[in-house]
């Protein structure tokens, strides 16, 4: 076996060891074993780097192991394999996942210090890292689905980590269930592919799908018994797989779980609900890209654009430091999905990578801020509860937390998409891809397709607005609680422990465009693009939409005009957004606290309520379904069970009737006969009374009868 595969296995398994060791024995270890978790993840990271250097642009390693078989004599063997697939994308993901996981764990040492389930926390992070690495390494859809669910499970454990908090356990349940809704679609997609191709293996599937022979309104696949797979079913299969992404990557309409998931510890939000897990959906789309028909991609693009826009709008209406970031994550994931939908496969993956860094950084930043404000609020004597996560309670923190602020700025700039920062590269690439796609699609005369890039551009403006607002409220102006700066600090000299600051600063560093592309204005020259293009990942076969993708890529290559134009437009929009945010902030800073905390109105209220999507699900699906279930249970008890009992009762009544018949009629007849016999006997006995006179009368009577008889005949 290729030794690289062994190393890859080690990368994946080390975090699993962390889980088992810490979960079962972490309490007894010194420092509850946090060092062990960090060391293991660190080793995983180093090995990932090693793998990256060996695989990236050099080779593709694919190893399959038999897992189980439904075999038998005389039958075709149904074999289920498991395997490891190492290519550019998977090693890149390995590095990112282990790196961010490592940093988040280091950060958590301080952040989670003193929690009574501290060791469980690190154990769960280990389980999460293991499952996430599993998704990345899997070579087939079934295995991917397994890790996919396990990721959901570890996310469930971590969102609901503070078991005593009802809001947290509600959120964890909600996250798991909303993910399951998506997973049912995912399973449907898997079923279709399995039914027609008999395999889950992505490489084999890719070849089979690419070898499809288009028929009237379907495909015939050479290796699959000549069965016809209709175009519609294939599109539906693609959309089914996409459903998995809709759940996990929080796309419209299932995105409602993600804001709630912020109830979990902030480092968890950073690792799972910003950088890695939620991006798994985009990773899935990338892996399944060859199976998507053009119609499926269209739906994907629309959903992505809608999500990007809705998330951005909702973010504008939030005041919770983490919720804003959560909605921003939804919006950015929408971008990635839209990118996939429009065939800007590489741009979308680039955005996944850049976003992972800057968003993880922003969340950890928020963690430090919350940590500090929480500390300060403890000194603050207020009559009422002060929410340490509400940005309206902050302000002027750049003086208190300077390093945090310096880390925050590049990450925010990257998120807004300002030039020289990483987000600019990837967002620009997605937007120009979307523009080119719209051009390609609307060649038929329907220019509605341009709505997709327009949606993307609108989200740029909104992103700039809400992030600038976020920034101004937290770091600028004066402190609205009027707390002494010293109160924000756990130690008087430092703003925060280095264990908190180093991860944030490192992640912020990677928000700079230079790390991703030598030319910070154009992603086309980026070393990422060389490695993540469809050609690199898929080889000669480009899947069902190869023509479209090729067309768009060539078009983009041919002229840099679109790139320049989208760059200029998006920067312009971003600046406008920042300006509006600044204007509004200026106004807001003049307001009294009461005015500031007054409820929002109009669009902002709708945005704040997330378009009432939660209420929609609650009132349209969940509650009616629960009460319907109650009805079913009542039906079960009152109708089915009662009819069974009634049947039983009827039997008893029937038995009673038969019993009565038996007693009265059958037995009665017998008794009657006996009574009759008795009667006869009794009357016979009367004659035998021993009186000579009566014997004489009887014989006389008999003699008369005899004489009469003789006379008569």
């Amino acid at each position: 076996m290729n030794s690289l595969v062994l190393w890859a296995l080690v990368v994946g398994v080390l975090p699993l060891f962390t889980f088992f060791i810490l979960f079962l024995g972490g309490k007894k270890l010194p420092r509850r074993g946090d060092w062990l978790a960090i060391t293991f993840t660190g080793i995983s990271f180093l090995i990932s780097l090693f793998l990256f250097l060996h695989i990236w642009q050099k080779e593709v390693v694919h190893v399959r192991f038999p897992w189980f078989e439904l075999g038998g004599a005389g039958n075709q063997l149904v074999a289920f394999t498991s395997g490891i697939y190492l290519d550019n994308l998977s090693v890149l993901m390995l590095v990112i996942v282990t790196f961010i996981s490592l940093l988040v764990q280091v950060f958590s040492v301080i952040y989670m210090h003193g929690d009574w389930r501290y060791h469980h926390y690190f154990a769960y992070l280990g389980l999460f890292t293991f499952s996430m690495l599993g998704i990345v390494l899997s070579d087939n859809l079934l295995l991917l689905f397994i890790f996919w669910e396990l990721v959901g499970f570890s996310s469930y454990l971590l969102i609901g980590f503070w078991l005593e908090k009802d809001s947290a356990t509600n959120a964890s349940k909600k996250a798991f269930l909303f993910n399951r809704v998506g997973d049912i679609g995912f399973l449907f997609g898997i079923f279709v592919l399995y039914t027609f191709f008999g395999t889950f293996d992505l490489q084999i599937l890719k070849d089979l799908v690419s070898g499809a022979i288009a028929q009237n309104n379907g495909f015939i696949f050479p290796n699959a018994d000549g069965q016809t797979l209709s175009y519609t079913l294939l599109t539906l299969a693609g959309l089914g797989i996409f459903c998995g992404c809709v759940g996990k990557s929080a796309q419209f309409p299932l995105q409602v779980w993600l804001p709630d998931a912020m109830e979990g510890p902030t480092p968890v939000s950073s690792l799972i609900h910003a950088a890695t897990m939620v991006a798994a959906g985009v990773y899935l789309l990338s892996r399944c890209f060859p199976f998507f028909t053009e119609d499926a991609l269209l739906v994907i693009a629309i959903i992505g654009a809608v999500t990007a826009l809705l998330g951005a709008i909702a973010a504008c209406g939030q005041n919770d430091i983490k919720k804003i970031l959560a909605f921003s994550t939804i919006s950015q994931l929408g971008y990635m999905v839209m990118g996939m939908g429009v065939g800007a496969h590489d741009a979308s993956l680039l955005h996944l990578v850049t976003h992972a860094f800057f968003k993880a950084s922003l969340f950890l930043n928020a963690g430090i801020v919350i940590h500090a404000v929480h500390h300060a609020v403890a000194h603050y004597e207020a009559d009422e509860f002060v929410d340490a996560q509400d940005i309206r309670n902050m302000g002027g923190l750049r003086k208190v937390l300077p390093l945090t602020f310096y880390a925050y700025i590049p990450a925010t700039a990257a998120l807004i998409g300002l030039p020289l920062f990483s987000g600019f590269l990837s967002k620009d690439a997605i937007l120009s891809g979307a523009w080119a796609w719209a051009g390609y699609k609307s060649m038929g005369g329907n220019s509605l397709y341009y709505l997709i890039p327009v949606g993307g551009f609108s989200a740029v403006l909104l992103t700039a607005y809400y992030m600038a607002r976020h920034c101004f409220y937290i770091f600028f102006g004066k402190n609205r609680l009027e707390i002494k700066p010293a109160d924000y600090r756990h130690t008087p000299t430092k703003e925060a422990s280095w264990l908190l600051l180093v991860p944030v600063l490192l992640l912020a560093l990677f928000s700079i465009a230079f790390f991703f592309s030598p030319n910070p204005f154009d992603a086309g020259s980026s070393w990422f693009f060389q490695g993540l293009s469809l050609k690199q990942l898929l080889g000669s076969t480009t899947g069902l939409t190869g023509n479209m993708v090729n067309h768009i890529t060539e078009y983009l290559h041919a002229s840099s005009f679109i790139h320049v134009l989208t760059g200029i437009i998006s920067v312009g929009l971003a600046l406008v957004g920042i300006f509006i945010a600044w204007r509004n902030y200026q106004k807001a800073s003049l307001k009294t606290n009461e005015e500031l905390f007054a409820g929002q109105t109009g669009v902002l209220k709708v945005a704040h309520q997330h378009f009432y999507l939660n209420n929609f699900f609650e009132n349209i699906f969940i509650r009616p379904f629960l009460s319907f279930s109650q009805e079913v249970a009542i039906f079960d008890k009152d109708i089915i069970d009662r009819s069974v009992n009634a049947f039983g009762k009827m039997m008893v009544i029937l038995a009673k009737v038969i019993g009565w018949i038996d007693r009265k009629l059958v037995d009665g007849l017998v008794n009657f006969i006996a009574w009759l016999a008795g009667l006869i006997g009794k009357s016979g006995r009367l004659m035998q009374n021993g009186k000579i006179q009566s014997y004489y009368i009887f014989s006389l009577f008999g003699l008369i009868l005899l004489i009469l008889y003789i006379l008569a005949f």
């Binding site: 189980f68 356990t169 798991f176 399973l187 449907f188 079923f191 039914t195």
Partner: protein, 569 residues
């Protein structure tokens, strides 16, 4: 090891005698003896499992292993032919996993019964009788013998629920009894029909003078007998009527003109009589499984039964129903399987959704789990009805896996009930804080049951759903929408488990003051660990390494599926 199958049945049976001889006061001895007997049974069933050779076939006589065949009742009925009832035991891939499951759960049940106080002697005697008859059911290859064991399960079960049960135990016990009895009556009717229609070709050969003894009947001679049967040249007094199940699989063994012959034109109420026979048998076993709408005995029986009996009921007795479908209903009447595929699949889907919805509405944890059993047994039904390799294997896997998981789940309710005397979900909050280790095992059991990958339930349900979906293309049995609707059962399963978990185990610690004055409850005892941990490990092992089981059972199941597909068309 020639008599290993008999030992599996007779070890507990003889232990019953031993227990009856022990004085009532020696409760410790009675428990230990029962434990030793079940452990012995478990060891033997494990030995059997590992020594089973999976390359045998399911539909021929030669496919059974460790066969024991003795003539039990043999009557010469002159012109009515010979009546032959055999003591015929054997295992194949269909029964192997069930035998293993019985061995395992028998021990778990004894450990779980350790706290029984009332009338210990009678309890363990009945318990072992129950285990023996369940084992007998899985091993018997003679329909008469099977039926005997099948009926015999009712008696100990009736008393175990009726004496050691909860407040409404009499009601539950009688309900269980009557329900199952009706099912077995339906089976009995078909059994008699089969008896009149099927001959044992080997024994007939001996009777007709073609062979000297049954083992001397070569395939050629058997063929000769079968063709003589078709041509009607065999005198009716030479025919040996049999209850042997393997003989019933062969259409050639049916007497021409007999009521259940494959080309029988006999119709009842406009239905071919064989299809009716299929339906009767199906209903008989479906009651046991159970499926909606004949499931209402299950929640009552579970709620009233003591914990160990609930464990056995869910993990073993329900499986007898599923096993009957695999062993008897589908292969004996393959055309029924094909004809009624939609109906059976539909009932399966209905059970999945309906059971899950009822579970969602339950406030008694034990009832919730009972309804979840109904839901999970629906998967058994659709998997088998799909008549695909994946579906049927998944169906069998589901039976095994559900045996382990439901055992865990009922032990869990027992743990809570033992401590507090309540099982109501709304009586508890935040149990995780007072029983952390228990909560871990509950999370494992709940997630295993809701089909989290890594646990055996996932493999089972995945295979079933794959098979059901592929069925439309591969075997043409079930439409695709059934797979899709059934898949949504996974969502509902997650919903009721997570909701129960959240309500009982998370949040601030609180126990309803009527239940207990202080909310503190002791964590698991060593005995409870002993039951829950092995089961958790097993579900994990069978979830990660399905080949452990599938390598042994899937050849037989595949063959069964092929056989039914060929014979049913």
């Amino acid at each position: 090891m020639d008599y290993i199958l008999s030992s599996l049945i007779f070890i507990p049976l003889l232990t019953v005698l031993l227990i009856l001889l022990l004085p009532k006061q020696m409760e410790g001895a009675i428990k230990s003896v029962s434990l030793v007997a079940t452990i012995l049974q478990m060891v033997l069933s494990c030995w059997l499992f590992f020594n089973f050779n999976p390359t045998a076939s399911a539909t021929t006589d030669q496919g059974y292993q460790f066969v024991e065949k003795l003539n039990w009742i043999s009557l010469n009925l002159q012109s009515l032919g010979h009546l032959q009832i055999q003591y015929f035991l054997g295992v194949d891939g269909i029964s192997l996993s069930m035998v293993l499951l019985t061995g395992l759960m028998g021990v778990i049940g004894v450990v779980s019964s350790w706290t029984i106080k009332k009338n210990v002697k009678a309890y363990f005697a009945l318990y072992l009788l129950l285990v023996a008859s369940v084992m007998g059911c899985f091993l018997a290859l003679d329909l008469f013998l099977f039926y005997l064991f099948f009926e015999f399960m009712l008696l100990p079960m009736y008393f175990l629920i009726g004496i050691w049960g909860g407040p409404r135990r009499e009601y539950a016990a009688i309900k269980f009894f009557i329900y199952t009895l009706i099912g077995s009556l339906l089976i009995l009717i078909v059994m008699i029909g089969l008896y009149t229609s099927v001959i044992d070709p080997a024994a007939t050969a001996v009777n007709a003078g073609l062979a000297t003894n049954a083992s001397g009947a070569t395939p050629a001679i058997v063929n000769q007998v079968q063709s003589a049967l078709v041509s009607g040249t065999l005198a009716s007094d030479k025919l040996v009527h049999t209850f042997s199940i393997p003989d019933m699989y062969q259409a050639k063994n049916f007497i021409p003109g007999s009521i259940l012959h494959a080309f029988s034109n006999i119709q009842l109420w406009g239905y071919p009589v064989r299809l009716l026979a299929f339906l009767l048998l199906f209903i008989g076993f479906a009651i046991k499984l159970p499926v909606v709408p004949v499931h209402t005995w299950l929640p009552d029986a579970h709620v009233e039964a003591p914990t160990p009996i609930s464990v056995l009921l869910a993990s073993l007795l329900l499986k007898v129903g599923g096993y009957g479908l695999f062993r008897i209903v589908f292969p004996v009447f393959p055309e029924g399987a094909a004809y009624y595929a939609h109906l059976i699949g539909g009932i399966g889907v209905l059970s999945i959704i309906y059971g899950a919805m009822c579970a969602l509405a339950m406030s008694d944890l034990k009832k919730l789990i009972a309804y979840s059993s109904v839901s999970h047994m629906g998967f058994v039904l659709i998997g088998l009805a799909s008549l695909t390799v994946e579906g049927a294997n998944g169906s069998m896997y589901q039976m095994f896996s559900h045996g382990l998981i439901s055992g865990m789940l009922f032990i869990i309710t027992g743990v809570i009930y033992d401590r507090s005397g309540s099982r109501m979900i709304q009586h508890f909050r935040g149990l995780a804080f007072t029983m952390p280790a228990f909560t871990v095992l509950v999370v494992i059991a709940f997630f295993a049951s809701l089909g989290l990958p890594g646990f055996s339930g996932f493999i089972a349900e995945l295979l079933v759903l794959l098979g059901t979906f592929a069925s439309a293309t591969v075997s043409g049995m079930l439409p695709r929408w059934m797979a899709i609707v059934a898949t949504s059962g996974l969502l509902l399963g997650a919903a009721y488990y997570l909701w129960a978990l959240q309500r009982m185990f998370f949040g601030k610690i609180w126990v309803h003051p009527e239940v207990q004055e202080t909310p503190n409850m002791p964590d698991l005892t060593r005995r409870e660990y002993l039951m829950l941990v092995p089961l958790a490990v097993l579900t994990l092992v069978f979830g990660l390494f399905p080949s452990l089981l599938l390598d042994k059972i899937s050849p037989a199941i595949n063959q069964l599926v092929q056989f039914i597909l060929v014979a049913g068309k």
